[in-house]
Symmetry: C2
Subunit: 358 residues, 2 copies
């Protein structure tokens, strides 16, 4: 039965994608090992993520969305390293054989795997035993030329600019909307935040709501941007835990401080929501949006630093790239308001173990 | 807390192993991706396995043994492909932070990683949410020269010999002893098998019991043998599910039949248990041992086919290699007894999903 399952939902639908890459995938699903050929003088990049039902995705999430996001989060790590995808493996631990879920999950996985030409090359499907909830892990493989050693977090230098792709915080807005729809908004917001967040969600235009929900459900990893940033960026990472927490990894490893300009972050939001200034409480709404950018995860956008003489080259790569800060001596993450005053931003990145301990 | 945990049990103890391989591990734990350098003109080999508490290991197994076996099963897949280890990633999904378990688990993992010079290069540690039991996945990376494309299961040819390393079935004996010790032997044996198995366990010499328990708990993946078999073996795999089921993968993919000689398999057992013929029911005991070899998994020994003109070269590689059969036209796995009669062996490989469906 396990073999049938693997054939029906994985080997058969994904077979074409592996066969379409005969120079890379020498052996895929079915032997003891998958065998991949890297380009000459290229290095291997690999990353792995685990998703647990009820922790990282809702039990009633559309399985197609779960499939998409599972690979998206791993491809995003390749993007943040400037590597191009070679393939991935999948570990599924299932409490029961739910064919509806498997069909949707494998379809979502195939969608994103096809879009990024990243074939499934192996995996393991097991019973979850007494565990009632699904656990899945994906390990992705990519490559980059030996001349490009990735974007080390310790490589941010004083005077460099801080850049963002897209509008980090959008996925958090999508999550807030999803929780609100389920009547569980208070689970995500502390008491004093709740009325502010409710006011924000009520004011959001319908189009922005759609964008936020899509950013949460089907984030697009920035693979192409990561390749374009080779030779332009110094430090780079993908925003999986929120800007303040993730940028703190760069400032810590590089032993510098990062200054974020409130006006730049607000401009970023105004591009998506130009009518916001017509709201009576525009300043309050922008502040709540700022908090989502600083603390909200799961956008899979990139954050990187680059020398100012790369500014024009980066700005011309594509629309939707935002220069929002600067690297200075010191430590920590700071928010600089219009009035030039600076406020230290505490690290609010999401911590799964803090949750189960508290 | 997650970072502390990773540092204490993984990054710190495994750091030295990664640093001892600076030509291979360019970046390890801590960045978005690990970066590995393959040797020029080498291909990447990768394999992944999931272990679920209560399904693949006992909750009260010594965690050191669980750590050892988790990596051993993956290294065994590299061995079966003739690849040498580069490193591995680890996914841990934990219902709680059990420091005793983590300390033992990471120590066992470090033991085998050090023995096979296979550094931990990345991973993901998450809460198991509402799942009460641990789930862990390991993905291992290895390499082999481009001239060696692994040992494809479809490459067994008529007239080739069938070989085994070690004494497959030993781990099953270890498992039977463990279940007996816990008073749960009947969970592993169907009604009519139980008295035969009890007679076998009662007759086993103390030394053989020790070997069996050690084979179950700390199997040694045949990495060195896999490298030696490059250029000698045609098809090869590791015995994780039992000889009859695993050899059926070769016979099926190669569209041939495999004949196993009962006398050769009995000789293999007599080398470990020379006194067996002094037992009153020696023939019956040998038959039960044969069943363990055909159906018992988790030995992580290798099974391969090779042209008879390689016989002497293989025999001289090391002790404990057994030529036990031959490839013929036809299909399926057959057991040939001393009287030259042949009996078809049904595939009895372990199937996790069959278990939860029945």
């Amino acid at each position: 039965m396990e073999f049938d399952l693997i054939h029906r939902y994985f080997k058969t639908p994904f077979g074409g994608l592996a066969q379409a890459n005969p120079d890379t995938v020498l052996f895929g699903i079915g032997d003891d090992c998958a065998t991949l050929r890297l380009a000459p003088d290229f290095h291997l990049f690999t990353s792995t993520d685990t998703l647990v039902e009820g922790v990282h995705f809702f039990s009633d999430d559309p399985p197609r969305v779960t499939g998409w996001k599972a690979l998206a989060s791993n491809l995003s790590d390749l993007a943040a390293s400037g590597a191009s995808p070679l393939g991935f493996t999948l570990n599924l631990s299932l409490p029961e054989i739910d064919e509806n879920w498997l069909a949707g999950f494998s379809a979502g996985l195939l969608d994103i795997a096809t879009r990024f030409n990243c074939p499934l090359v192996g995996g393991d499907t097991t019973s979850a035993g007494s565990n009632p909830l699904k656990t899945l892990s994906i390990t992705v493989f990519g490559q980059a030329p030996a001349s490009h050693l990735g974007f080390n977090r310790a490589h941010a230098k004083i005077g460099e600019e801080v850049w963002l792709s897209g509008t980090p915080g959008l996925a958090r807005l999508g999550l807030l909307l999803e929780y609100q729809r389920r009547g569980r908004l208070e689970q995500l917001c502390k008491g004093h935040e709740l009325p502010q967040v409710q006011a924000l969600l009520a004011a959001m235009p319908a189009k922005l709501r759609q964008i936020a929900v899509s950013q949460l459900g089907m984030p697009v990893p920035r693979i192409e941007l990561g390749l374009q940033l080779r030779g332009l960026a110094s430090a780079c990472l993908d925003l999986s835990d929120g800007l303040s927490g993730d940028l703190a990894h760069i400032s810590g490893a590089s032993e510098v401080s990062a200054i974020l300009f409130q006006s730049s972050l607000e401009s970023m939001w105004r591009k998506l929501w130009p009518e916001i200034d017509q709201q009576a409480n525009a300043a309050g709404l922008l502040k709540v949006l700022l908090v989502q950018t600083l603390t909200g995860g799961d956008d899979f956008e990139l954050c990187w630093t680059a020398h100012p003489n790369r500014h024009d080259a980066i700005q011309s790569l594509k629309v939707g790239l935002h220069c929002v800060g600067v690297i200075e001596p010191g430590s920590g993450i700071w928010l600089q308001s219009q009035g030039a005053s600076r406020e230290r931003v505490s690290s609010c990145s999401f911590n799964h173990f803090a949750e189960i301990q508290n």
